[in-house]
């Protein structure tokens, strides 16, 4: 070992004890200070005053800088994850992986430099180390520009404030949407009332005129007063196409399976289908135009104990859903247009809104489809079972004990 190498080793041992005090730099939120030494362009060129001892110190500092850069980017990744910024997280994670690799390489280069310095060499290793530091700084800058944030990560207070603002804006948008929808529904209803209804009398017509003026429809004033007994039709004639018809029949519990089979056959014969069947109950669906005919056929199959037929008018629901769907489709088109020129950050927000609107559209379409199906096919349920005791409590049961001993069960019991 040469004298210079021994001296370098001795100095190194001293530096290990006092060198730590030179690494007391606090953490910087901004870019870390560039190492002061010039970047060597030619291996072997040390520069003035660049002795082995100094180079030792600087090498340690370089490795430390690289480690701090990696830690800084790791913190940025954690912040991005916290605010669920997927794009930024991915970008910065990529930089972090590269930085960790550079850090490992830098430590190896540091070791190689130390070894080379014992032999009076080290220019190549030093150059490699400086190059690693340069690459690390480059990655740090790239990491900060992942989402255009040049001033570091968003602090917790700024994040909470931004989140609150977004929530408030979202609820405002929802309220405006609802208001728009209601106004449009009122206009449509007013149009139907004015256009399709027969109005008579000046008083009524004045009201109609006012409504017509509001919606932009012309209704000529009437001059003849109504005759006595004239029927004033205030709205459109009732539309039978928007009725959901259902019937519930309870038949006597006799020849149950045979009756259930017959009900099923009747349904098929009239263009319908079986919807549900259990031991004593069957539900069928038939085209609405065959409803009455099917019902009268089924009533002949047994003793009808209860009969309940209803028709539910779903015009309002239908119009309501159609309008909501129309509005949602318009909002979606608008959002898609906005997406074209949006920045990355705005695009993420627009996508979120688009997802919500698309979900709404699918929900409305599903409900409309269900309504159309219920209108097109009427439902008939036939049950062959005794009435539930809870229903019977509403009727007055006669207080004659002997009536409790009616029927087949007591009659056919031999041994008591």
């Amino acid at each position: 070992m040469t004298f210079r190498a021994c001296l370098a080793l001795l100095c190194l041992l001293c530096a290990t004890g006092c060198g730590a005090s030179t690494y007391s730099e606090p953490y910087y939120a901004g870019a870390l200070p560039t190492p002061a030494e010039p970047t060597p362009s030619v291996a072997g060129e040390h520069g003035a005053g660049d002795d082995a001892w100094s180079r030792e110190l600087r090498a340690d500092r370089v490795v430390g800088d690289i480690a701090r850069i990696a830690a800084d980017v790791e913190r940025q990744v954690a912040e991005a994850r916290k605010i669920r910024d997927v794009v930024r997280t991915q970008c910065q994670s990529d930089k972090l992986i590269q930085l960790r690799s550079i850090e490992r390489a830098a430590r190896e280069q540091r070791g190689a430099l130390r070894t080379a310095m014992f032999d009076g060499e080290g220019d190549v290793e030093w150059a490699a180390l400086i190059d690693s530091a340069r690459r690390a700084r480059g990655l740090q800058a790239e990491s900060r520009s992942c989402v255009g944030e040049e001033a570091g990560y968003m602090g917790p207070y700024a994040y909470a404030e931004r989140k609150t603002t977004i929530s408030r804006l979202e609820s405002n948008v929802d309220a405006l949407k609802e208001q728009t929808f209601r106004s449009k529904a009122r206009i449509e209803l007013a149009k139907d009332t004015v256009l399709a209804g027969k109005v008579g009398g000046e008083g009524e017509n004045r009201g109609a005129q006012l409504v017509a003026k509001q919606v932009g429809v012309d209704v000529p004033p009437t001059t003849t007063p109504p005759s006595t007994g004239q029927v004033h039709a205030r709205g459109a004639p009732h539309d039978p196409s928007m009725l959901i018809r259902t019937a519930d029949l309870t038949l006597g519990v006799y020849e149950v399976q045979k009756t259930l089979d017959a009900v099923e056959r009747t349904a098929r014969k009239h263009g319908g289908y079986l919807a549900l069947r259990s031991d004593r109950r069957v539900t069928i669906r038939v085209p609405r135009e065959r409803f009455e005919e099917t019902l009268s056929k089924i009533e002949k199959l047994g003793d009808v104990i209860h009969r309940n037929v209803s028709a539910e008018d779903v015009t309002d629901q239908f119009v309501d859903l159609e309008l909501r769907l129309k509005n949602a489709l318009a909002v979606r088109t608008r959002l898609e247009k906005l997406l074209e020129g949006a920045t990355v950050k705005d695009a993420v927000e627009i996508h979120k809104e688009l997802a919500k609107v698309t979900e709404e559209i699918e929900r409305f379409q599903g409900k409309l489809k269900l309504l159309r199906d219920r209108i097109a096919y009427s439902t008939i349920t036939v049950a062959l079972e005794p009435t539930e005791p809870t229903q019977l409590r509403q009727k007055a049961l006669l207080p004659f004990p002997w009536m409790n001993v009616l029927g087949l069960s007591p009659l056919l019991q031999v041994n008591r």
Binding site: G252, D303, T387, L392, V405, L406
Partner: protein, 151 residues
């Protein structure tokens, strides 16, 4: 001897009844410790015929009891009313017969009921069994139902 005692017992029982009924061939009258019926006869394959007289309030008529029984059997028990017709007892009293159908354990059963009203008594005549058996024993059942005389 035993048969004589049994016949005497039956005879005595019949003396206490406010009605008369004949037991058809193939049926046997049964005695029970706590009878629900004043008369009951059964065939080996489960067809049964029974008669009882119950005290009722004055002023109730046949129409009332027909409606009460029909409501009870249909609404509560789920029996299907298959048929109803006017009938006459063996001694000329006017009555009403109701024929119900009801499934028991997945099999169709028939249940026939005749009602007669006189003074303060209601006479309830019942016959029932699996539909196939009832059809097989129809002759005997008709005979027994038609043989009922009420006071």
């Amino acid at each position: 001897m035993k048969a004589l005692v049994f016949a005497l017992a039956l005879g005595l029982a019949a003396c206490g009844r406010p009605f008369d009924v004949k037991t058809a061939s193939g049926f046997v009258e049964v005695e029970e410790e706590t009878p629900l019926y004043d008369y009951r006869a059964v065939a080996p394959d489960g067809v049964a015929v029974a008669v009882r007289a119950v005290e009722v309030e004055e002023g109730t008529d046949l129409g009332f009891w027909e409606r009460a029984v029909t409501l009870r059997m249909r609404e509560l028990e789920g029996y299907a009313l298959l048929e109803k017709r006017d009938v006459t007892s063996a001694n000329g009293a006017k009555g009403r017969e109701l024929v119900f159908g009801h499934d028991q354990e997945g099999k169709p059963y028939l249940y026939r009921m005749r009602l007669f009203v006189s003074d303060e008594k209601l006479y309830v005549v019942e016959a029932g069994g699996a539909r196939d058996q009832m059809q097989r024993w129809q002759g005997s059942v008709d005979f027994m139902l038609a043989s009922v005389s009420v006071d």
